[in-house]
Subunit: 215 residues, 2 copies
């Protein structure tokens, strides 16, 4: 993933043609496109490959399983053309280590620690630091941390050193792209504000411009 | 899912033809077939539909995301023909509630609490009771609890009342089917011992016979 616009599109559109149209419109602007299981369930795993021809693809699969299954999922996603896979820390060190080992030389693993939705406060927030340390010890490329709470980006930065931070929650969820980058995020992840707009290319460009003002 | 053999096949085979052959061989014996993401990544989401013509299908997707994504995954899996989806509790009550609401009238949700691999001791085991209560409060059909530790099946039973318990870990991982049922499991989940054998139908039948001795 080149560190250019610092912008990642969360392509949570499940219609195949619409998803490809949006990818075509923004592939020159964003540094990567992040997809999730609903698109695979609706349009098939071939979408990973088709999108990877347009942009780096991050599979936000929030993998949370035993090591052997983690291996098969990461291997399958990278084999289809993904550049990175997002994995939960809370299933423990052996599962995370397996993800990193499987991706070695082929792609990157990003770890989920704290989650930004209300339910994330029940189990993930109280364990956020320990969850981040699982990722650090296992050698992940970076972490997902909510742009809706810039103080949490700064807090996680202290634990993870110079590893990358990818911040979702910008736009429709209320977070600010420039505030997230200023707080220490390496990339911001934007979904609905781009893919639901009438002009995804323009919106992506505007956000990239906003980010550039604080770099 | 009819409560007949009390046996569920974990079909962790990723080759499409082999998977369908095994499903054909055991569909008369097992109460359900459990699949996971690696099969979807290799053979496509259509496999859910094809297998659902042979047996009840449980999508062991270990869903662990924000409510809207949980909704899309559960909806997609049931729409493809699945009877049930397995969801993590640790992403909190709103995500679990969304899963249960999405499945209402169309299928069932089972909750993962404690996990049986070594990494499961780091975050899931210390929170096992609280994780089980998330499922109880949200109205899940049942829970996944490791057959490798029958004492844990008995412990979780105290928290969840008469909801179902599905126990993986029988066979290759060392758990005993009859011991798991005796400890209070409603179903045992068997994978490699069946699908990697030369005669899946016979092995499944033998395990079903073993279970019958303790009913």
């Amino acid at each position: 993933m080149r560190k250019s616009s610092r912008l990642i599109l969360a392509l949570d559109e499940t219609d195949r043609e619409k998803a490809l149209d949006i990818a075509d419109a923004v592939s020159g602007t964003v540094d990567a496109i992040k997809i999730n299981w609903p698109l695979v369930l609706s349009a098939g795993p071939e979408m990973i490959t088709e999108l990877s021809r347009r942009s780096d693809v991050i599979c936000d699969f929030k993998v949370a399983d035993i090591p052997n299954t983690v291996h098969l999922i990461v291997d399958g996603a990278l084999g289809r053309g993904a550049s990175a896979v997002i994995v939960h820390s809370f299933t423990g060190s052996d599962s995370m280590k397996e993800a990193v080992d499987t991706a070695a030389g082929r792609g990157n693993i990003y770890a989920v620690t704290e989650m930004s939705h209300p339910g994330g406060k029940e189990f993930t927030a109280p364990n956020a630091e320990a969850l981040a340390l699982v990722g650090v010890r296992c050698g992940v490329k970076g972490f997902i941390a909510p742009a809706t709470r810039p103080d949490r980006i700064a807090a996680i930065r202290k634990v993870i050193g110079d590893r990358e931070i990818l911040s979702p929650g910008v736009g429709a969820q209320g977070g600010s792209a420039s505030a997230a980058i200023s707080a220490g995020a390496d990339y911001v992840i934007v979904g609905r504000a781009i893919y639901k707009s009438d002009d995804p290319s323009k919106v992506a460009g505007d956000i990239a411009d906003e980010i550039r003002t604080v770099l």
